[in-house]
């Protein structure tokens, strides 16, 4: 050990003058060495983020069909696709469905996640193991969860209906009835989102100093009062971040809805993301131009909330 160290020091002394020149620059932020390390990322972002995005904008301002796709001679139509999409009958439906899906998912994911986070803050026997098990829904491929829920909610043979039948509830055709399909996909999505909310809110709770709680219990505050006066207000920044990030993620959900209902029945679960996916890939006849227009509108909505999230996060870092 000592000998190795000695040789390395000797080597270092020997090499020092030559290497130093290269390094002195980098300490001040040498453009060349650092850029060398970052260059692959920049090239990657240009090729696999910027260019696909450019292509999707390009699709949305042309009239592409599958032949024009291969030949590359689609007609330029400006914002016509956007106008068509926004004025289409499906637009208000899809916008409303997106709102309902996102809103209900977030409200329940957050409430249940917060309840569980507070519950798991009490250290009890097995609490760590059980909390870990709550991660499972988040780790499963969405297609797996979606198909399990689809079978559980099956109108004829699903376990959910058998369970409800015990309480005298008549058969509900969850996924095939336009009145219940949205509820069904929202239930599945809430289940999927609980782990994410639990993990982030739980880590937020860990950052609340223990002595704040001790002071509150000395004041004789009960659990509910402690929650409303201390936990919830102190958790507000983390809550905002959880909700905003959840919102951005939920806006773009495709897999779970697609595998359960493909946006049906009668467009009852067609959100903007599903609509876009279906136009482009969901039917035998791909219609990329309107699909790209819908997708780009979705990006704008996601980015608006995304910027709120980034501002919130920055404010937290500054504190």
């Amino acid at each position: 050990m000592t000998t190795t160290q000695d040789t390395s020091v000797a080597n270092g002394a020997e090499r020092q003058p030559r290497r130093r020149a290269a390094w002195r620059g980098s300490a001040k932020g040498s453009p060349f060495i650092a850029v060398g390390f970052v260059a692959p990322l920049i090239a990657y972002l240009i090729a696999f983020y910027a260019y696909p995005l450019y292509r999707s904008i390009d699709l949305s301002v042309h009239d592409y069909n599958i032949r024009a796709f291969v030949q590359g001679n689609a007609e330029f139509v400006g914002l016509e696709n956007y106008v068509d999409v926004v004025t289409s009958d499906l637009f208000p439906t899809a916008l409303w469905n997106t709102f309902v899906f996102v809103f209900l998912s977030l409200v329940f994911q957050y409430t249940i996640g917060l309840g569980l986070a507070v519950f798991f803050r009490n250290k009890f026997r097995l609490s760590g193991v059980l909390r870990a098990l709550f991660l499972v829904p988040w780790l499963l491929p969405l297609i797996v969860s979606g198909s399990v829920w689809a079978w559980m909610l099956n109108g004829d043979y699903g376990i959910i209906n058998s369970f409800l039948a015990v309480f005298g509830v008549d058969q509900i055709n969850w996924l095939t009835d336009p009145d219940t399909a949205m509820t069904a996909v929202v239930i599945a999505n809430i289940w999927l989102g609980i782990p994410f909310n639990l993990v982030i809110l739980y880590s937020g709770l860990q950052n609340i100093p223990e002595d704040v709680y001790e002071a509150s219990s000395l004041d004789g505050a009960g659990p509910w009062k402690t929650f409303t006066r201390i936990t919830f207000p102190l958790l507000r920044p983390v809550s905002a971040i959880t909700l905003l990030l959840g919102l951005v993620y939920t806006l773009k959900v495709v897999d779970i809805i697609w595998v359960m209902t493909t946006g049906g029945p009668a467009n009852a679960t067609t959100t903007l993301a599903i609509w876009s996916y279906r136009e482009a890939f969901g039917t035998g006849q791909p219609d990329f131009s309107p699909a790209a227009a819908i997708g780009n509108l979705l990006i704008i909505i996601a980015l608006i909330f995304g910027f709120f999230y980034l501002r919130m996060q920055k404010r937290m870092e500054d504190h």
Partner: protein, 275 residues
């Protein structure tokens, strides 16, 4: 006082178990259905326990799904390699060598994570049609890596910027160049971050459905997610086989949970809240 405290935590354990059972019921149900005889699938009410278990479903998986599982494994590993190769050096350049313009780049990475995969898949489709990359595993690896690369750079950067400066100075005095410092000091220290990034990159590639169903749907090599989806479409009577495939497709998740749980929690949190 002591006994009272003990009784209270005992109740919490019971309550916690009830919550966990409720939460994991769908996972249990997947197992249960995967072991159910085909003729019992239409039984009403369904049996809560696999009393007459059958392995028909799993036999079907091993007869039909092995290529898809292999494809997904290859996809996952390819995505891990590509993600680490791009993300780790970039994070080193940003967090330790402090490249100028790092802040806007960080911002771009955060925004990149918010772009819906549907939109990306259309862009990729348009590009791949021309390059003849549709239905190719390399094309799919490239597309899948876009889910993980921004996350990887941000996670590595967050960790590397916390490394002690003295270490880099010591390396410099020892005469190590930027590349050697990266390879022999920074990377070994970042092993946990590398593991977290690798696990997530693998899991996202393994679970991806949107890119698979748009960029590789007509290929010979389709990943397991697409295979399950096609299975549901073609064969809605054999839910035991579908659920058996789903169980097998959940193996990476189970593995992560058992062996890498702390990295999972670290990754979820790192994506949202920076310390």
């Amino acid at each position: 006082m002591h006994t009272k405290h003990k009784r209270r935590t005992w109740w919490q354990t019971v309550l916690g178990l009830v919550f966990t059972v409720l939460m994991l019921f769908p996972v249990y149900w997947m197992f249960n259905v995967s072991l159910t005889q085909t003729q019992d699938l239409r039984q009403s009410p369904p049996s809560l326990l696999p009393l007459n278990p059958t392995f028909e479903g799993y036999e079907a998986v091993f007869q039909q799904q092995l290529p898809a599982l292999g494809t997904s494994l290859l996809l996952g590993l390819g995505t891990v390699v590509l993600t680490i190769v791009i993300a780790a050096p970039a994070a080193y350049g940003l967090a330790i060598l402090r490249m100028r313009g790092g802040r806007p780049l960080n911002f771009i990475l955060l925004v990149a994570q918010m772009i819906p995969a549907v939109v990306m898949s259309m862009g990729f489709y348009a590009i791949y049609v021309r390059l003849d990359l549709l239905n190719s595993i390399w094309g799919l690896i490239l597309a899948d890596s876009t889910i993980a690369v921004p996350f990887g750079v941000l996670l590595f950067s967050a960790f590397m910027s916390g490394l002690p400066k003295e270490l880099m100075q010591a390396a410099r005095i020892d005469g190590a160049g930027a590349w050697r410092t990266f390879r022999s000091i920074v990377m070994p220290l970042s092993r946990n971050s590398a593991l977290t990034v690798a696990l997530f990159a693998f899991l996202w590639a393994w679970s991806d459905f949107i890119f698979a169903s748009t960029l590789a749907r007509n290929g010979d090599m389709i990943p397991i997610t697409l295979s399950i989806y096609n299975y549901i479409g073609n064969n809605t009577t054999q839910w035991n086989a579908i659920m058996a495939t789903a169980v097998v497709a959940s193996i990476p998740a189970a593995f992560l949970l058992v062996f890498a749980q702390k990295y999972v929690a670290a990754g979820v949190t790192a994506g949202a809240v920076k310390d």
